[in-house]
C-alpha cells in the first residue's frame, strides 16, 4: 500500500475505510477526507501542544476519547468524530472554555473571525451553567503594537510557541496557573520583534489585539482581496481588507513557497502613507491642477510631440505597466530607458526560515526581464549621465515608492535638467516643483498586475480599489490611453489582457497567463503542471 513512494496507512474514519500517508496525525488525515475536527491550539505552522482538548475523538484503541491533533493514524485504527462520546467530549470542553470567557463579542475585534465564536456556535451550549463569579485577568500592552485582553485568553499558547519557534525571540510566556493563567511578557521586555503582528492573527480568540486595528472595523463589513505585499522583494502573499474603499488592515495569506503563514510588521503596517496628507491624488502642470482626463490628454500630447525622450522606471511598477512603458519607448525612436532603486534596507532572517529582504521594492526582477538585466545598473547610469549633459529633452519618470523625497537627491537633481519632465509619483514633495506634468501614481496595494519576487516567482497583486471607485486613473489604464492617442494601440485591456500581450512579446513570460498563476503564483521558469486524463501529471 503506497502512493508513489510514500507508505500508506489504512484506517477507519466514521465507519469508512480510508488511506493516508503513514505518520499523519488524525486531524490532518481526517481533513484530507473533508472531515473537519475543531481546533484551538493546533496550528499547521507550530509545534503540537495538545492543550485545548477541543479536538477529542472516539478511538477503538483507547477507553477514553483521544486528541486528534497529536495522535497519529495507524493500521486498523477506528476513529469516530461524530459519535455520542466524541460529541459529548467536545461539548464539555467547549463549556469549560467558556466558563471564564467574558462573551464580550459585541465589542471584541476578533468577533466574526473568532474560532471560539465559531466552535461555540457549532459545539457549545446555548446557555451557561456557571453561576460563580468569573475571574478577572489583566488587560495591558505587551508591546508597541499588541495588547492582551486577558479575560478572553484560553491559554492555547499559539502565540507563545510562535515567539519561541518562528520568530525565535521568545518574548511571550504564560504566567500563573490554572484559571489564573494568562499570556504575558517579562517585565520590561516588550514584544517588538519584526514578526510580532502574526501573534494577533493566530490568536484563536480576541485576547491578543492589534493596536493598529483596534475598534477600526467589524470584520464582516470589510472587503477582502488576495494580493501581494510590495514592501520588499520577498513578495509575501497577503489579504488586503478594506472598509468603504479604505485599507484597514493587511493579513498574511498561506503560501508555503514564499511566506508560510506569516508576514513581517514592516509590510503589515506599511500602508499608512496611502492616506498621508502628502499623498498625490490630482494631476497638475507647472501652473494649474488638471482633471484626470485632461491629464491623460496632456500626457499624450507631450509624448506624441516629444523628441530626445527618456524613461526613468522604478521597481514598484508591475510587469504589465512595464510592458506598456516598453511599448511606448519602442515606438519612439532613440528613446532611452533607465531605472532607479530605493536605498537598501536591512535584511532579517528568522529561525523558521522566514526572511525579510533588504531590497525594499517588489519587482526589480520583472523590470530586468522586460528591459534587460542592466536597466538598474549601466542603463540607469547612462540615463543619469545623459540627463546631466542635457541630452534628454523630455523625461517620463516613475516614482512609485512611499518616500516623499522621490528617487533620492542625486536623481531629483538630474531630473531637473530635463527640459520637459513628466513625473508619475505616489507622494507629493518639493522635488516635484517645476515639473511640466505631475501625475498621481498608484502605490503597490493599488496596482492590478504581476510582480516577480527575489526568487523569480511571478505573483499576482490585486488592487484594493473596487472597479469604478478609483480616485484617479491607474497607470495601467492611463498608459494604454496614451498608447491609443499615439496610435500604437486600438483598445484598452484589463491587466490580464496586457499580460497576454507581454507573454506574446517577451519570451520569459510566454509560458504564463494570469489565470495560470492562481492565488499563489508560479516560478517564472516553470509552467504549472497540467493534469492529464489519467490523473497523473506531466
Amino acid at each position: 500500500m503506497a502512493r508513489g513512494d510514500t507508505p500508506m496507512t489504512r484506517w477507519l474514519l466514521n465507519g469508512q475505510e480510508v488511506e493516508n500517508p503513514t505518520g499523519m496525525t488524525i486531524m490532518e488525515a481526517a481533513r484530507e477526507h473533508g472531515v473537519d475536527i475543531p481546533d484551538f491550539c493546533y496550528h499547521p505552522g507550530l509545534s503540537i501542544a495538545g492543550n485545548c482538548r477541543i479536538c477529542m475523538v472516539e478511538s477503538n484503541r483507547s477507553p477514553k476519547p483521544i486528541i486528534a491533533c497529536s495522535e497519529r493514524i495507524a493500521d486498523g485504527l477506528e476513529i469516530k468524530t461524530d459519535s455520542d462520546v466524541a460529541v459529548e467530549a467536545r461539548n464539555s470542553v467547549m463549556e469549560f472554555q467558556l466558563i471564564n470567557h467574558p462573551l464580550d463579542c459585541p465589542v471584541c475585534d476578533k468577533s466574526g473571525e473568532c474560532i471560539l465564536q465559531d466552535h461555540s456556535y457549532t459545539h457549545g451550549p446555548d446557555r451557561s451553567r456557571f453561576v460563580e463569579d468569573k475571574n478577572i485577568r489583566h488587560t495591558k500592552e505587551l508591546g508597541p503594537t499588541i495588547s492582551i485582553w486577558g479575560n478572553r485568553c484560553i491559554v492555547c499558547t499559539r502565540c507563545v510557541r510562535f515567539c519561541d519557534e518562528i520568530s525565535g525571540t521568545g518574548e511571550l510566556c504564560v504566567v500563573e496557573r490554572g484559571d489564573r493563567a494568562v499570556v504575558d511578557v517579562f517585565p520590561g521586555i516588550p514584544i517588538d520583534n519584526a514578526m510580532a503582528g502574526n501573534t494577533v492573527d493566530i490568536c484563536p480568540v480576541g485576547a491578543l489585539i492589534s493596536e493598529d486595528f483596534k475598534f477600526e472595523a467589524r470584520v464582516w463589513n470589510m472587503d477582502r482581496r488576495d494580493s501581494v505585499c510590495g514592501g520588499c522583494a520577498r513578495g509575501c502573499n497577503i489579504e488586503v481588507e478594506t472598509l468603504d474603499g479604505y485599507v484597514k488592515r493587511l493579513l498574511p495569506r498561506e503560501n508555503l513557497e514564499v511566506n508560510d503563514w506569516w508576514m513581517c510588521d514592516h509590510g503589515r503596517y506599511g500602508w499608512r502613507h496611502l492616506y498621508s496628507e502628502n499623498r498625490l491624488t490630482t494631476a497638475r502642470t507647472a501652473n494649474q491642477e488638471l482633471e484626470d482626463d485632461s491629464a491623460t490628454s496632456t500626457l499624450a500630447d507631450f509624448v506624441s510631440r516629444a523628441k530626445k525622450v527618456a524613461f526613468l522606471i522604478d521597481p514598484f511598477l508591475t510587469c504589465e505597466e512595464l510592458s506598456l512603458i516598453h511599448g511606448l519607448s519602442s515606438s519612439i525612436p532613440d528613446s532611452i530607458v533607465g531605472g532607479w532603486l530605493p536605498p537598501k534596507g536591512t535584511a532579517e532572517q528568522f529561525p523558521s526560515g522566514f526572511t525579510i529582504s533588504s531590497a525594499k521594492h517588489p519587482n526589480r526582477r520583472g523590470a530586468e526581464k522586460i528591459f534587460g538585466s542592466k536597466v538598474f545598473g549601466k542603463d540607469g547610469k547612462d540615463l543619469l549621465k545623459a540627463l546631466d549633459s542635457r541630452k534628454v529633452s523630455t523625461l517620463i519618470a516613475f516614482c512609485g515608492g512611499p518616500a516623499e523625497e522621490g528617487p533620492g537627491s542625486s536623481w531629483s537633481e538630474a531630473i531637473r535638467k530635463a527640459r520637459k519632465r513628466i513625473v508619475f509619483s505616489v507622494m507629493d514633495g518639493d522635488w516635484l516643483k517645476g515639473a511640466s506634468l505631475v501625475v498621481p501614481a498608484t502605490a503597490p496595494l493599488e496596482k492590478e498586475g504581476t510582480w516577480i519576487n527575489e526568487d523569480g516567482r511571478l505573483q499576482r497583486a490585486r488592487s484594493c480599489w473596487k472597479p469604478g471607485d478609483e480616485p484617479f486613473c491607474p497607470e495601467l489604464v492611463r498608459l494604454q490611453q496614451v498608447q491609443m492617442a499615439c496610435e500604437i494601440r486600438t483598445r484598452c485591456l484589463s491587466a490580464a489582457g496586457v499580460f497576454r500581450e507581454l507573454a506574446e512579446n517577451i519570451k520569459a513570460f510566454s509560458q504564463h497567463s494570469h489565470s495560470d498563476l492562481g492565488d499563489g503564483g508560479l516560478p517564472l521558469s516553470r509552467r504549472r503542471a497540467r493534469v492529464d486524463s489519467k490523473g497523473g501529471t506531466r
Binding site: 515567539c163 519561541d164 525571540t169 521568545g170 518574548e171 511571550l172 510566556c173 504564560v174 504566567v175 500563573e176 496557573r177 504575558d184 511578557v185 517579562f186 517585565p187 520590561g188 521586555i189
Partner: protein, 168 residues
C-alpha cells in the same frame, strides 16, 4: 541602582552540578531557581533575568515558570511567608477557615503583604502533607494539624520573634 545579582563561586559549582544531572539545560531550571532564591533571598526581575542569561533561555520562559509555582519566594514577599495549602485534603479539613483567620488577624488578603512588611499570605497548591491537614508552610517550616487557636498562637510567636530580632 541595585547591584546586579550574581552567583557566588559555591553556588556556581552547585549550578554546574545541576546541569550534569539533567538531560537538557532547561530541565535544570527548577533547582537553579531554588538556588537563586537561597542565594539572593528572593526572585525579582533582576534575579530572574540573571538566571535566564545564565541558562541561555528567554527571560519570559523563566518568568512563566516562577509564576506557575507558588513556592518560590517572589520579590516583595514579607519576612514571614504564610503559605496555606488549599488543595483537596486541606480544603476538606477547613483550610479556608485558616485563611480567613489569618486575613482577619493580619488585615491582608491572599496575595498581599502586611504594611509592616512582616507577613505575606498565599493560598498554595498541595504541600504533600495531607495526613496532617489543614496545614501551612511558614518560610521553610511546616505547621500541621492546625486549629484556629494554633493560627493565633503562630502569629503571636512570629511577631515576638521579629521584635526580638530572631531570624524566622
Amino acid at each position: 541602582m541595585a547591584q546586579t545579582p550574581s552567583f557566588s563561586r559555591e553556588a556556581m559549582k552547585q549550578y554546574k552540578w545541576f546541569l550534569s544531572r539533567y538531560p537538557t539545560r532547561r530541565a535544570a531550571l527548577l533547582p537553579t531557581l531554588r538556588l537563586a532564591e537561597q542565594q539572593f533571598g528572593e526572585l525579582g526581575v533582576a534575579e530572574m533575568r540573571y538566571v535566564a542569561d545564565l541558562m541561555k533561555i528567554s527571560p519570559a520562559a523563566v518568568f512563566g515558570v516562577v509564576t506557575f509555582y507558588t513556592h518560590y519566594r517572589r520579590a516583595g514577599t514579607g519576612k514571614f511567608h504564610l503559605q496555606v495549602c488549599s488543595t483537596l485534603s486541606c480544603a476538606l479539613r477547613g483550610s479556608e477557615d485558616v485563611v480567613t483567620r489569618i486575613s482577619e488577624r493580619l488585615g491582608i488578603s491572599p496575595g498581599e503583604t502586611s504594611e509592616c512588611g512582616l507577613f505575606s499570605l498565599s493560598k498554595v497548591e498541595c504541600l504533600g502533607s495531607c495526613d496532617t491537614a489543614p496545614m501551612l508552610q511558614c518560610n521553610d517550616d511546616y505547621h500541621e494539624g492546625l486549629t484556629l487557636e494554633d493560627v493565633d498562637q503562630l502569629i503571636e510567636q512570629l511577631r515576638s520573634e521579629a521584635s526580638q530580632g530572631v531570624n524566622g
